[in-house]
Symmetry: C2
Subunit: 436 residues, 2 copies
């Protein structure tokens, strides 16, 4: 059978890695799919840069539109990132009747609905396994492997940089700022780390996971996102003493009265597998009504782990390239006409348990006054811990862990407590999930 | 579009669960695949038994051949188990041009090569996701999600009964016999537990995983299998003290000089995720040359987790049912003509680290004499630990943990040590894997 020709937009880390994996594993790949897959063209910013892959058989160009318009190219792999030029190129490729593979989570999260509709109209596939959690294969697992389930919950460590920072803070007692600086020097974090540490990157990924889990449109604007930049070593250590670990999670829940779509630091019981996913690794817990809890773990970034997902997408496309589009998995895992909007909850409607720390003057009766504020709102308390003042401190920390309740009630209790005379700084509120 | 009609052979736990999940999630499923999937027939042993599912719309028969021969049935789901009648029924279904889904690991491991050839000749699919690790989706992950990789290693906790027993032994200090009796009363273990505790069930599953990982024929007869029935609490506790946990693993490795296919208790560093997979849960670690280590975790058995995998297989078949067979994933993940036999190593050729316990008379110089037997064979020692005798014991236990070496050399050292005057009982040898 005729070889399938691939053009890559962007031959940096992931692009170079993709070409390298396709070259190195060419014989394994053709044993699997029964035909050859060749990278024949790539667009690059600089023609003379060093590459991960062998470029001797590739046509390199500085004009990405040349790749997108090349008649020989069957599949365009978009790896330049961003959501303006990348979008234009992708729509052009689709318009030209080419299948597209992308690792661009921002583009899919923000413009996926439009892009998928365009692809649908032209009977081509846009595949994006590599956009979420790199090599893990979570998109395929949810869209296909768990297709018999009604997905109830998913919760993922889906930003390796944030997980690396949290792991170092816990293991070595280092501050957020200290670890971030190291992560930047190691290349794990961007010079502008906002996307990683403020939860925006995780929110892009959660947007995608939620849409394919529940069959809803992509709706990034409805995701609540909170990062790790305000997390203190104090709470990391207290959480540990209470038997929890703090992980930065993207959580999507489908309950009877709407969806919760939220990204934030979360206390998880330390014996859970998810609590033990360390460093730059990613993992996603998916709970289906039939299967129960599953966990999918692996490298979320890096040249070859990401390439692994890009190549898997390419091979899926190749398998169905000459077949009727009906044999392909729909872009969001549900038939386009079956995509349904569901109400998305605001933070005050979230249901969770909560870790709450208050710094208070060490006066008699303060703990019972604080407790009363929770009792007033029917919030059950799992545990109360009072921490003796460190040397030179003239206040004590009181930590409440609540049972599951509605966040609006917790916020009311906090507001009421903060207005009390003996309470010092702003309260610390971190959500707690048990996943049992 | 016309509804797809499914006939189930065997309406017990998994069969009833499959019909139940298809019924309960019917609307979710048709949102996904754009057509209805209906169970219309099932064969049962007893027409009057209680069922998990609603049978009001089903034709029940005591003759499974009636289902296999029914012209209305598109997909036959084989859930009766065993490898004689089940094989006959499956070949008949294939001969009738029907697609088949099965959870029967023994049948696939022992007769898969023949069955897949028959299916290939009739252009139908035989899907078996539920045969390995229930709802996890490991077959799809390896055949499709990791298809860009050369798989180097896989290691799985793929027998829930054995894992439940080991977890209880470690957590509660209970003996193998004690926990086995409980597992039997809970229904986790069969009345004849041989398949589970002697590693045969795990060997069936490893046979399947190895074939799809490496593109080799199914070759159950070449898998080395060792169970957990001889494992003592002493070694479970000593392993723990040394920083390891003992798990019963199926391991398949592809090294330059051949395959290792082995099932046995294994010491794993206790901080590894795989070491923390407890109770009846399953997990499979897969290492690909591009992706690195991935881990896939979930329930390995039970009505609905297994049904989750059965339904996923059905939906995959439905998607391509009207399309050319070329768009389907080949049965073993590789084109039939690309399946290659590779040499399989015998145990003396295995490469691993080893935990070795010798009970010896407490006389001066015995440890150095033992150590010399390893040095003679260039086996490097990671650690030596001498355990003081318990009350009433007149011997000491000496535990060696070796570095990676060849098993034949270790066996020579053991033989030589066992022939020494001061050595008591048979040595204990347990393989150690670090998975780093």
């Amino acid at each position: 059978m005729k070889a399938i020709k691939v053009g890559i937009l962007g031959l940096g880390t992931v692009g170079g890695g993709t070409a390298l994996v396709l070259q190195r594993n060419a014989s394994e790949i053709s044993r699997r799919i029964g035909r050859a897959v060749e990278v024949t063209m790539a667009s690059v910013r600089n023609l003379d840069s060093e590459r991960l892959c062998d470029c001797s058989q590739l046509t390199l160009t500085q004009d990405p539109f040349e790749v997108v318009d090349a008649s020989e190219i069957d599949i365009v792999v978009e790896l330049i990132g961003g959501d303006t030029l990348a979008k234009e190129l992708m729509l052009k490729a689709i318009g030209n009747g080419k299948h597209v593979v992308t690792a661009n989570k921002a583009l899919i999260a923000l413009h996926g609905n439009e892009i998928f509709a365009a692809a649908q109209a032209k009977d081509v596939s846009v595949s994006y396994e590599s956009a979420v959690a790199g090599g893990i294969g979570i998109i395929k697992a949810i869209r296909e492997g768990l297709a018999g389930n009604k997905i109830e919950l998913l919760a993922g460590i889906i930003n390796g940089t944030a997980n690396f920072i949290l792991t170092e803070m816990r293991d070595k007692g280092r501050t957020f700022e200290d670890v971030l600086a190291e992560a930047q020097s190691l290349g794990y974090a961007e010079a502008d780390p906002t996307f990683d540490v403020e939860g925006i990157d995780a929110a892009h990924k959660l947007t995608i996971l939620a849409a394919i889990a529940f069959g809803t449109p992509l709706q990034f604007e409805k995701v609540y996102a909170e990062g790790i930049s305000k997390l203190s070593l104090t709470d990391v250590a207290y959480a540990e003493e209470l038997g929890y670990r703090i992980k930065h999670l993207g959580i999507a829940k489908n309950s009877h009265d709407g969806l919760e779509l939220r990204v934030h630091p979360t206390l998880i019981p330390s014996e859970r597998l998810l609590a033990n996913v360390d460093g730059v690794m990613n993992a996603v817990l998916v709970k289906g009504d039939a299967v129960g809890n599953t966990l999918h773990y692996g490298a979320g970034a890096g040249a070859e782990p990401t390439a692994s997902a890009v190549v898997a997408d390419i091979l899926d496309i190749v398998r169905s390239i000459d077949a009727s589009p009906s044999c392909r998995v729909p872009h969001l895992g549900f038939q386009p006409e079956a995509i349904q909007s569901l109400p998305v909850k605001t933070p005050d409607q979230f249901e969770s348990a909560y870790y709450l720390r208050f710094d208070v003057n060490d006066v008699a009766g303060v703990m019972s006054k604080l407790s009363a504020k929770f009792a007033d709102r029917n919030i059950s308390i799992e545990s109360i811990t009072q921490k003796e003042p460190s040397l030179g401190q003239d206040f004590v920390s009181v930590i409440f862990v609540t049972q599951r309740t509605r966040e609006g009630l917790v916020d009311q209790a906090i507001e009421s407590i903060e207005s009390m005379g003996d309470v010092r700084a702003d309260a610390v509120k971190i959500r707690v999930e048990h996943f049992d």
